[in-house]
Symmetry: C2
Subunit: 202 residues, 2 copies
C-alpha cells in the first residue's frame, strides 16, 4: 500500500513537472530529456510510468477532462431547471478552464499538432458533445426544447468554448470574465431559438 | 514588366510547392531546406521572396483569407435579405474551405503553434468577426435583428466554423456536406433566437 502511494506520487510529480515545463517553454519546445531532468528521477523511472512525452500530455489532458465532466455532474445535482442548466453549464465549464489555466492552454494549443494528440482531444470532445446532445434530447422529450436536431447545437456550443478558451489563454484577447459574459449571452440567444415558446421573452 | 511577371511566377511557385509539402508532410515536419529543394530554385532566390518558412505559411493563409472575404462580398451583391444572408453566408464561407482543402487544413492545424502564426490567423479572425458584427448592427438598425450584443454572436459563428473545419479536414469525423448541413441548421436555430419576432416560426 505504501508502495502504491509512492508510485502514485512519482507519477504525480512527473505530471506536475510536465505541466510546468509545457506551460513555460511550450510542449513542442520541451525535449523529453529536460522533462526527465526536471523530475529529478532517473530515465528508467520516467519510462516506467510513461511511454513518451505525448503519453504525459495525454495523461494531463485526461485528468483535466475528468475534472470538467465531474464538475458538470455536480452542478446538475444542484440545478434541475433545464433552461437554466443550458445557459449556466457553460459558466461551470469555463470556470474549470480558468482554475486550470495551464491545462486550458494545452487544450487550446495542442489541437492539430499530431494525430495522437488529436485523438486524445477528440475523446473529450466526443464525450462533451454526447452529453450536450443527451441533455437536448431529454429537454425535447420534456417539452422544454423545440424539436431541434441536437448535433449542430452541441457542435456550436463546443466550438464556442474552444474558440473562447483560445482567445483568452493563447491570444489574451479577452479576459476570463469577458469570456464567461460572452458565453452566457450567446447561450441566452441560442436558447431563445431552441426553447419552446412559453419561455420566449422571459 | 516581363521581369515583374517572372518574379510573381517564382513567388507563386514557392507558394505552390509549400502548400503541397505542408499538406503532405505537415508544416512542422517540413524543413525549409526541403521546401527550397522542391522549388528547384537556389537558396538565395527563396530568401529574396521570404524571410523564413513561417513567412511562406503566412502568405498562403493571407491569400486564402482574401479569397474568403472576396467571395462573401460577391455573395452580398446577389442577396439582400438579411435573414437569408445570416444563414447562407456560412455556406459560402465553408464552400471556399472545401474548394481549398489544403489551405483549410493549414488553418485548422496551425492555431496555437507559434505567436507569429497565431497573429496571422488572428488578423483574419478579427476581420471576420468585425464583418459579422457590422452585419448584425446593420440588421438591428433595420429592425431585422433584436437588440442583441453582436460580439458573442460573431464569436459563436466563427467558433462554429473553426471547429467544423477541424472536424472535417483534420479529424475526418464529418463530411464536407455534413459540415454545411450542420452550419445551416445551427444558423437557423440561432436566427430564431436573434431575429425580430415577425420571422419566428416561419
Amino acid at each position: 500500500m505504501a508502495l502504491e502511494l509512492k508510485k502514485r506520487q512519482k507519477k504525480e510529480t512527473i505530471l506536475a513537472c510536465a505541466l510546468d515545463l509545457f506551460s513555460k517553454k511550450g510542449y513542442l519546445e520541451t525535449p523529453v530529456r529536460d522533462l526527465i531532468d526536471a523530475t529529478g528521477f532517473g530515465t528508467s523511472t520516467f519510462y516506467r510510468y510513461f511511454d513518451d512525452k505525448e503519453a504525459v500530455l495525454k495523461a494531463l489532458l485526461r485528468d483535466f477532462f475528468n475534472i470538467i465532466m465531474e464538475r458538470v455532474k455536480e452542478y446538475y445535482l444542484t440545478e434541475e431547471d433545464l433552461r437554466v442548466r443550458f445557459v449556466e453549464t457553460k459558466r461551470v465549464v469555463l470556470e474549470v478552464f480558468i482554475e486550470h489555466r495551464d491545462c486550458a492552454a494545452l487544450y487550446a494549443r495542442m489541437s492539430g499538432v499530431s494525430d495522437g494528440i488529436d485523438a486524445c482531444l477528440k475523446e473529450f470532445d466526443d464525450r462533451y458533445l454526447a452529453q450536450v446532445c443527451d441533455n437536448i434530447r431529454y429537454g425535447i422529450e420534456r417539452g422544454i426544447f423545440r424539436d431541434v436536431t441536437p448535433e449542430p447545437v452541441a457542435h456550436a456550443i463546443l466550438g464556442f468554448v474552444k474558440y473562447a478558451v483560445y482567445r483568452w489563454v493563447v491570444l489574451k484577447q479577452i479576459t476570463a470574465r469577458g469570456m464567461i459574459t460572452m458565453a452566457v449571452k450567446f447561450h441566452e440567444y441560442l436558447g431563445e431559438g431552441i426553447f419552446t415558446k412559453g419561455q420566449r421573452g422571459k
